[in-house]
């Protein structure tokens, strides 16, 4: 992976020349980008008639196909702090993304007389057993089955009628009982690395079911590309996988046009990474080796984007 290029300097001329010589460019790597940088990245992609994909697989986002098929009910951690008297850490340990998460959002007392209980479901204990905390141990691969069973239990379906093993049933009963006793439930998830989309689907479905009976919401963690998703959506109508960035008619090709697939199929010969690529894109670039030129640009982008676009325009190779 080449080094990040600063906004000025001679290296930028080399980068501009690389991009100008490309047959087809992909702009990606926008996890954690600010809105202004995502806007600048889109401007660059449009100037280059490039493909655009922020980077995280569409399937891993609660805002991806999951939203289209079943919806979603999400909130920020502050809602958990202010409202939830039951916090479920769903197959994740929030301290991995933010070491202070528990201190900032879980430890503060709720307003009023209600106390807060926590349950960690999955391989991570998170908080250590105590009067207000319980660890329901399950292996990581049980996450989706567990969500299905908790949803069934919360709906009143007899788990005996479902094909599920003893530990899963016990876990589902325990979580459902805690949910039944709660007045507001926060489910903390981290599906950023989910390659299939089934994880966010399962918890979105579970939370929707819980929210029909009481206030309940999901607090998704992990690396986020919210800003780029927002900008891509208002520019092109979709979060990513845009075949050709064109605000007057960008085409969304979710099954073909995401960053990983474009790289793996060598459908692009130059990738402009704005910021940091996701692990999936990184792996695809490693597989591609020298077959694909990679240019990494450091935000802020506005001037860089203009310079590269001008350089490409000067070569007469603008698509």
């Amino acid at each position: 992976m080449p080094p990040l290029l600063p906004a000025t300097g001679a290296d930028l001329d080399h980068a501009a020349a690389t991009i100008a010589a490309a047959r087809r460019v992909l702009v990606t790597g926008l996890v954690g980008a600010a809105v202004a940088d995502a806007v600048a990245a889109c401007d660059l992609a449009e100037a280059l008639a490039a493909a655009f994909d922020p980077g995280a697989p569409e399937t891993a986002r609660v805002t991806g196909p999951t939203v289209a098929r079943i919806g979603g009910v999400t909130a920020v951690p502050a809602e958990l702090r202010d409202r939830a008297d039951l916090v479920i850490f769903w197959f994740c340990d929030p301290r991995r993304a933010d070491a202070t998460f528990l201190d900032r959002f879980v430890a503060p007392a709720l307003p009023g007389p209600r106390g807060r209980r926590t349950i960690a479901v999955g391989p991570h204990d998170v908080a250590g057993d105590g009067a207000a905390h319980r660890h329901v141990a399950l292996p990581g691969e049980a996450a989706i089955d567990a969500a299905r069973l908790v949803e069934a239990a919360a709906t009143g379906i007899d788990l005996e009628t479902l094909a599920a093993d003893g530990p899963l049933r016990s876990a589902a009963d325990a979580v459902a009982a805690a949910v039944a006793a709660a007045s507001c439930v926060a489910v903390v998830t981290d599906w950023a690395a989910d390659p299939t989309g089934l994880g966010p689907w399962s918890t979105a479905s579970l939370v929707r079911r819980l929210a029909g009976r009481r206030p309940a919401f999901e607090v998704p963690l992990g690396e986020r590309d919210d800003a780029a998703v927002a900008v891509g959506t208002w520019r092109y109508g979709a979060a990513g996988a845009i075949e050709v960035a064109d605000r007057a008619g960008g085409r969304f090709l979710p099954a073909e046009g995401d960053a990983v697939r474009l790289v793996d199929r060598r459908e692009v010969d130059c990738v402009v990474v704005v910021g940091t690529p996701t692990p999936q894109v990184n792996a695809a670039l490693a597989r591609a080796g020298d077959a694909i030129a990679v240019v990494r640009l450091a935000p802020p982008l506005a001037d860089v984007a203009r310079r590269i676009a001008a350089a490409r325009s000067a070569t007469g190779t603008v698509a």
Partner: protein
């Protein structure tokens, strides 16, 4: 010093509808210099002449209540891919560029997004910066902020004003909106709500606060008035979409009478009937319109429903949840219980649906029952009731009674039998259509440079070919000018200048 000739044009000999200046079908010229309307100049030869003979000339359209930007609109674009990429109609929730292009092609030059959480204002403005042509403003959901609610509950008028002024300044807002006053608190208060929690009257105490929704409305309206904002409190009252909610709207009007307020999408708040009682579900417009017509301090937009597929989005998450529960469709509520979170879900309005037919009829009944068109803004609450590109169809429903009767004959038979619409023959004139689509919304919004063609106004001008088929006439203007620049011609975008951001300043 003279400017370039292109900055000076005269639209010559058009038939002018400019209600704010008392011109109703007057053949005259419109003189434009530097993007503004100017009086007839002494030196007319330096003005480039554009022949407008035979064309109807109106100010650019002003949409007072729409949803075009912000997180909820983004979710709306993603939640129904089948409506985003259909080929027989515009995307239910278009991209921001397509939104501007379509509004422009329709002859609209100003739009307000009616529900932006204060915390999302920066993002919304970044998106609106990509909106071509139109001037744009936002109403902030600042009245839902916890601190504001607490100040209102304490009856601390000074602190309420300070907080609202701070929000308007920080969020570059044009107005303040309250969506379901106190509703989020009812909804999230599980013990009291016993369910979704949206069912309350205006006099129940808001959970956790020593205040009622009625007092919230009254004190917020006073605060907005005292701040001197150009637009009064923008009110989406409680119980949206629920049978029997006409009483809530009537009480809302009584509370706000004398204070000044704008009532949003009243169609969704004008239903008779009890819970799930289809036999008693119907129109509550008659008593509401009677009150409205005799209390001049109130204004409204209708939120007309038109038949077809769309996406609903509202700052009233409780209402979205209720609708989703009733229809079983996917729905989204992002930042569920935060102040100002929004609910989003797809909706299909059908002629043969009893409820949808009532909604359609109730909206039209509102339009046709209000005596003074200056107090009404035409809207579909885009995209909630219908897409904004359906405005020409709505205008034909209002201006062509025969067309309306044909449409009425196709709706659910129970509605045909009971709706007062069956006996209303009123037709909007061209002048009245001009009022409800530009002059009135501009005046209600507090805009001084839009919505009219008098000297000093922005040269936002739309030229239509007269046509007895009003839908055809209004769907494709011959020309549209934004600040004197030709931006659309026969449905094609000719230029895409960036419009102004309309941000208010308060007295605080």
């Amino acid at each position: 010093m003279s400017g370039p000739a292109v900055d000076r044009i005269v639209l010559a000999g058009g038939t002018i509808h400019d209600p704010a200046n008392g011109r109703d079908g007057v053949v005259d010229d419109v003189w434009i210099e530097g993007g503004r309307i100017v009086p007839r100049p002494a030196e007319a030869t330096v003005f480039r002449r554009i022949d407008a003979r035979g064309l109807v000339v109106m100010p650019g359209g002003v949409d007072l209540h729409s949803h075009v930007a912000g997180p909820k609109v983004g979710f709306g674009r993603r939640i129904a891919p089948q409506l985003a990429r259909r080929t027989d109609a515009p995307a239910a929730v278009p991209t921001i560029h397509a939104t501007g292009a379509a509004y422009t092609a329709l002859g609209y030059t100003t739009v307000f997004d009616a529900a932006i959480a204060t915390s999302a204002a920066t993002l919304a403005h970044a998106e609106l910066a990509d909106l071509p042509v139109l001037d744009k403003g936002i109403y902030l959901l600042a009245a839902d902020d916890t601190a504001v609610l607490a100040a209102v509950a304490r009856d601390d008028a000074r602190e309420t004003r300070r907080l609202l002024a701070e929000a308007v300044a920080a969020g570059a807002g044009w107005g303040v909106k309250v969506a379901n006053p106190g509703g989020p608190a009812f909804w999230r208060d599980a013990e009291r709500a016993r369910g979704r929690g949206d069912h309350h009257d205006l006099d129940s105490a808001v959970p956790g606060l020593d205040v009622t929704p009625r007092l919230l409305l009254e004190r917020l309206a006073d605060a907005v008035r005292d701040l001197g904002l150009p637009h009064p409190l923008h009110v989406h009252t409680a119980n949206l979409g629920l049978p029997g909610n006409w009483r809530t709207l009537l009480e809302t009007m009584r509370s706000l009478d004398g204070r000044g307020a704008h009532l949003a999408h009243v169609q969704f708040h004008s239903y008779t009937g009890g819970d799930l009682d289809e036999g008693s579900f119907g129109s509550g417009v008659a008593p509401l319109a009677e009150f409205f017509n005799t209390h001049a301090g109130l204004t409204l937009d209708v939120g007309q429903v038109l038949f077809g597929d769309t996406v609903a989005m509202t700052g009233d998450s409780a209402a979205a949840a209720h609708l989703a529960e009733a229809t079983g469709v996917p729905w989204v509520s992002h930042d569920l219980h935060l102040s100002g979170g929004c609910g989003v879900l797809p909706v299909a309005y059908r002629e043969k649906s009893l409820v949808h037919a009532w909604q359609w009829a109730i909206g039209l009944e509102w339009f046709l029952s209000v005596d003074d068109p200056w107090r009404v803004a035409l809207s579909t609450d885009h995209p909630n009731g219908a897409h904004f590109t359906a405005y020409p169809h709505l205008m034909q429903l209002l201006g062509d009674a025969a067309f309306r009767r044909e449409a009425f004959a196709r709706i659910h038979p129970a509605v045909r039998k009971r709706s007062p619409l069956r006996s209303i023959d009123r037709e909007y004139t061209l002048q009245e259509l001009c009022i409800v689509t530009r002059a009135a919304p501009a005046r209600i919004a507090g805009l001084t440079h839009q919505g009219h063609l008098g000297p000093g106004a922005d040269a936002d001008v739309t030229l239509y070919r007269p046509d007895p088929d009003l839908a055809r006439m209004f769907s494709m203007p011959a020309r549209v000018y934004k600040r004197g620049v030709l931006v659309a011609e026969d449905g094609h975008l000719r230029a895409a200048p960036v419009g102004a951001t309309l941000a208010a300043t308060s007295r605080e």
